[in-house]
Amino acid sequence: MSGIFSSRDSCPEVKNILILDSEGKRVAVKYYSDEWPTNSARLAFEKSLFAKTLKSNARTEAEITMFDSNIVIYKSVQDLHFFITGGDDENELILANVLQGLFDATALLLRNTIDKREALENLDIIFLCIDELVDQGTILETDANILAGKVAIQNMDVSAPLSEQTISQALATAREHLTKSLLK
């Protein structure tokens, strides 16, 4: 049914996912909603959101706020700030679950050193992770292990013999085995 009950009757939707640095600059962002049609609208949103959430401590548990009639849940680690935005009517815990999925998967993939430098150096992984997390606003997968597994598989050159693999590749192989067992 469209109209006044639409948001409550439909599938949960993510409006955007942001990863910003300690100055509020973009590390990686992805918008699914046309609520922010232009880059400048997006930058303005990021700027004021960052200013509003700067003071709160979201390092141990994810924090939450209402922002421009949207729900924003955020979590910080080192010099990185993860945000997820959903509609006013969205189940807060579902959004938190998606953010946690992204956060934990990133931690797994970056071997627990999550900071801006590491994230930028492995930006391809971050992009792939977001790509596997949400598809055009619809939640695709929130389990961190499965997410990390999906991303890791693709970053490994399967054809290379074991002896030629670097340590990180070997780790990835190990991770793949882990994932395969999880997927079964």
Binding site: I4, I64, N91, N122, D124, T138, I153
Partner: protein
């Protein structure tokens, strides 16, 4: 793992380090040529794609050519067997969102991947292809998609299902054919597949109520594994409950047991979804609410802010309708006042203020006082508003609540916050008589040290009205007179006005006030001195003028019913003369019609580029002229008594004069004579001739005033008339028309047509209009028009006189009092079905526009999501009959709006007429 994209900088401390430092679009596009190498280097190519993605992510825009070029070279990378690279290729293709003709290039590669043995290829190729494809291609790949939905690999199945959810928006007819496969996928053992399948299945069947009902009943028996899918099921269940609510008035609500069972689910998101669904059930009973409130109460003490927030937000909403149900949570709620997260704290406080009982008010106030100092102004305003409503709820507690307000008034804060506090105190003083004296003193203390001139003057004004009515008015004098010593000129002038109100109301204080006012005669500001002099004279302070008390009071306390702008204009136009300025001739209309400069009659029309000639504003000159002619000074009486002879009027006066006469009637005597509509455009924008029409409605006549503008510099129009065909307006007969002699370029003019209609009857009809004129060429260099002209016509749009035209928008300040003061004898009540509407707000607006009445007390605003609404309207109907309308709207499931219309007026025939308007509209 991916390698660093550029050489690693070992100095980790350097803050600005980034592998993308100094990255440039041009250089990266250059680098992208590596995609075309016959020997593909997967690692290098992955890095370049990452750089491209980085640029796009930072908001860099690729031109069409650049995007196309990148896209074509990226397609070459399908030759590589490297999984990592292929994955990046998928991502960048989605980001580049290629056009339909470009898509064809990758279609075959993607279709190959869709049928690949590698699960990851299949899943991603489906997502990419469905994202970029259009309907035509979809039929080709439909077979594969159907297979993919039931693929044993959950990633592939999910990819196909999610793509289906998106495709349903664009090509529903195709996706609907997949319901068998989707149905099968709902039974999948994989959690996320079940979630995606359920979402898609519901969307496919959402218009089939029976099918949704069946879906819910079968799944609610417990075959759903994924928490996300369970949340969806709860949403669909609430929908079914909502839609079946009407036919199960008695007995247990269907599916309530399922919702209640979900409160014991192991996943918090499911528990919360169910609790929220229960609290939002239509007409939920306290028995149904209890288990939901219990789990939400547990969440309140969770260590996770998100959980606390979700719970307190839901409870806050429940408190609006069922405050008693939430009182059990008050203790947990109170501990949230000190929550680190200020959103949670504010929600907790406002909930407590809604649920609090009289005995807990004092304790609550104490806690809030500690809390106020460390939240932002925006939250403070919310709290102040909540306290105001609490005080109105428990008037006995006014002392502590008023004290709280005065305390926070003394603390630091911005203008909006202070204004909210002052407004609240003022409302409390008005509504709670016992709070008056202490409230006024608090305000007095506040202006002793108030940095906002606006608030000071508002408070002084309020003091002047309320202060003299208190038991000991003299104690306020000191506070007020202090302002005369210590403040800026605006506040000083305000204080003088307040002082004199005390003097006017209380004779014993008069001597003291006179002394103080005389001191103000030496103020260095003109306004302050003038006011003091004026008031001394009116009150008889110097023994010169003595007036009756009532006049003085009316002068001091009566409100000015003339818009200040109009008064200002009239004063500016007034020239010192024998006759003194008469405020009664100042127009009372609020809207001033934008009338461009009009040339003085008889003057040569000016052409292109000619300098504007004539007096600065002819209109003003005419207004002055009109008001100086004795007949016009008595306009109202004249027109009220005599039948209006438009033939005579049109014959005697020129168009500009007629325009002004109509304007005057409308401004001075709107209620007695009739009213003028807002201009209605009869031409499209940017056409050769711009024409709009103003409808002047009289008791027995209607005058159309056509405002015409000629937008062609090379033309001069003469003898401009509008030929009106009233064949679709049977009750109207044309009695006169007034052509416009000349219409030069860009200089608006008016032409009039008057119709007779049955006296006092709200006749309606449709009129078609044709602009007829003689057009003459104008030489742009000299601005001179040729002597010979050609007759021409220009079709205008139709115009309608509707019932709402006979309704004057006149608001009432207190609807309830006005309503009750009207005799119920002339009340007419009936119910109407308005049929399906987009929303309640849309229905409310439609009825307001249909009736053309003034919405009162902000009731034209419909809160979103409300299922019912009451709207109050007032107006004056033709014949000077006051009308009040109370509209009650309700909307049911399939958006059918029903309306109860109650009309009270001074004349039952008018009450019936209002119903007729609605019945026929």
């Amino acid at each position: 793992m991916a390698q660093p994209l550029v050489k690693k900088d070992d100095d980790r401390d350097e803050e600005e380090y980034s592998p993308f430092l100094g990255i440039e679009k041009g250089a990266v596009l250059q680098e992208a040529r590596v995609f075309n190498d016959p020997q593909i280097d997967p690692r290098r190519c992955s890095q370049v794609i990452t750089k491209l993605l980085y640029l796009l992510n930072q908001g860099e825009v690729f031109t069409k050519v650049e995007a196309t070029e990148v896209f074509f070279s990226v397609t070459k990378l399908f030759q590589s067997k490297d999984i990592g690279l292929r994955r990046m290729v998928y991502v960048i293709i989605k980001e580049l969102s290629p056009s339909a003709d470009e898509v064809i290039i990758v279609t075959s590669s993607l279709m190959k991947d869709m049928t690949s043995k590698t699960d990851m290829y299949r899943a991603n190729a489906i997502r990419v292809l469905c994202r970029i494809t259009d309907g035509t291609l979809l039929t080709q790949i439909e077979r594969y998609l159907k297979q993919a939905i039931v693929d044993k690999n959950p990633v592939v199945a999910s990819a196909a299902l999610v793509s289906g959810i998106h495709l349903l928006q664009t090509t529903p007819e195709i996706v609907k054919r997949w319901s068998n496969e989707v149905q099968e996928a709902v039974q999948s053992r994989a959690a996320l597949v079940q979630f995606h399948a359920l979402a898609l299945l519901h969307q496919i069947r959402q218009n089939d109520r029976l099918a949704v009902n069946k879906l819910v009943s079968s799944l609610s028996r417990g075959s759903v594994r994924s928490p996300l899918a369970q949340c969806l099921l709860i949403r669909y269940t609430s929908q079914v409950i909502r839609e079946s609510a009407n036919n199960t008035q008695t007995g247990d609500r269907p599916f309530y047991d399922f919702l209640e069972g979900c409160l014991r689910h192991k996943a918090e998101m499911v528990i919360f979804e169910a609790a929220r669904a229960i609290t939002e059930l239509n007409g939920v009973t306290s028995r149904e609410l209890t288990p939901a409130i219990t789990v939400l109460q547990l969440f309140l003490s969770s260590s996770k802010p998100v959980l606390r927030f979700a719970a307190v937000r839901t409870l806050n909403k429940v408190a609006m309708t069922h405050p008693m149900a939430v009182t059990n949570c008050n203790i947990d709620m109170e501990s949230l006042i000190s929550d680190q997260n200020r959103s949670i704290a504010t929600l907790a406080i406002t909930t407590l203020l809604k649920t609090g009982n009289e005995s807990s008010v004092d304790r609550l106030m104490k806690q809030i006082t500690n809390f106020m100092s460390d939240i932002a102004d925006e939250f403070k305003i919310v709290v102040v508003e909540a306290i105001r409503s609490l005080c109105l709820k428990f008037p006995l507690k006014h002392r502590s609540l008023m004290n709280f307000l005065s305390n926070i008034l003394r603390e630091e804060g911005g203008f909006e916050y202070k204004k909210a506090i002052v407004d609240s105190i003022v409302i409390l003083i008005r509504d709670i008589p016992e709070a008056k004296e202490s409230g006024l003193l608090h305000l007095c203390e506040f202006i002793e040290d108030c940095e906002f001139t606006y608030l000071s003057t508002q408070i002084l004004h309020f003091l002047g009205i309320e202060g003299p009515k208190t038991s000991d008015p003299s104690k306020y004098i000191r506070y007020i007179y202090n302002r005369v010593h210590l403040e800026n000129a605006t506040v000083r002038a305000g204080a003088v006005s307040t002082l004199v109100k005390f003097g006017a109301m209380i004779d014993e204080l008069k001597p003291r006030i006179f002394v103080l006012l005389r001191r103000c005669l030496f103020d260095n500001d003109d306004e302050v001195r003038d006011r003091a002099t004026l008031y001394l004279k009116t009150l008889g302070g110097d023994g010169a003028v003595v007036q009756t008390g009532e006049d003085v009071k009316e002068f001091l306390f009566g409100s000015l019913d003339i818009p200040l702008v109009n008064l200002e204009n009239s004063l500016k136009n007034y020239e010192p003369s024998e006759e003194s300025f008469d405020i009664n001739y100042v127009p009372k209309e609020v809207k001033t019609q934008p009338l461009a400069e009009t040339k003085a009659p008889g003057k040569k029309p000016t052409g292109l580029g000619a300098p504007p000639a004539g007096p600065p504003s002819t209109v003003d000159a005419y207004e002055k002229l009109l008001s100086s002619i004795p007949e016009f000074a008595n306009f109202g009486k004249l027109f009220k008594v005599l039948p209006f002879d438009f033939s005579m009027l049109f014959h005697t006066y020129n168009t500009l004069e007629i325009f002004l006469i109509l304007k005057f009637i409308n401004a001075l005597f709107p209620i007695f004579i009739g009213q003028s509509s807002a201009p209605v455009e009869l031409t499209e924008a940017e056409t050769e001739y711009a024409v709009n029409v103003v409808k002047h409605i009289f008791d027995g006549h209607v005058v159309f005033q056509y405002n015409c503008t000629n937008t062609i510099p090379e033309q001069l129009l003469e003898n401009v008339t509008v030929i009106v065909d009233a064949s679709e307006a049977e009750e109207f007969a044309e009695v006169a028309s007034k052509p416009l002699r000349s219409l030069p370029y860009d200089s608006p003019g008016q032409t009039f047509v008057a119709f007779e209609k049955p006296e006092g009857v709200p006749a309606v009809g449709k009129f078609s209009n044709m602009l007829r004129f003689i057009v003459k060429e104008v030489d742009p260099s000299t601005g001179e028009a040729e002597d010979d002209g050609v007759e021409d016509e220009y079709q205008l749009e139709d115009l309608e006189v509707v019932a709402a035209d006979y309704m004057l928008k006149v608001g009432v300040s207190n609807f309830r009092t006005a309503w009750e003061s009207m005799v119920a004898d002339c009340e007419r009540v009936d119910e109407y079905g308005l049929g399906p509407r987009d929303s309640l707000a849309e229905a409310v607006n439609a009825v307001i526009n249909l009736l053309g009445m003034q919405p009162c007390e902000g009731t034209e605003v419909v809160p979103s999501n409300s299922r019912s609404h009451t709207c109050l309207l007032s107006g004056v109907y033709i014949g000077n009959v006051k009308v009040l309308v109370r509209l009650q709207f309700g909307i049911d499931g399939p958006k059918d709006v029903a309306m109860k219309l109650a009309v009270r007026s001074e004349d039952e025939a008018v009450s019936d007429a209002i119903h007729e308007i609605v019945a026929s509209g």
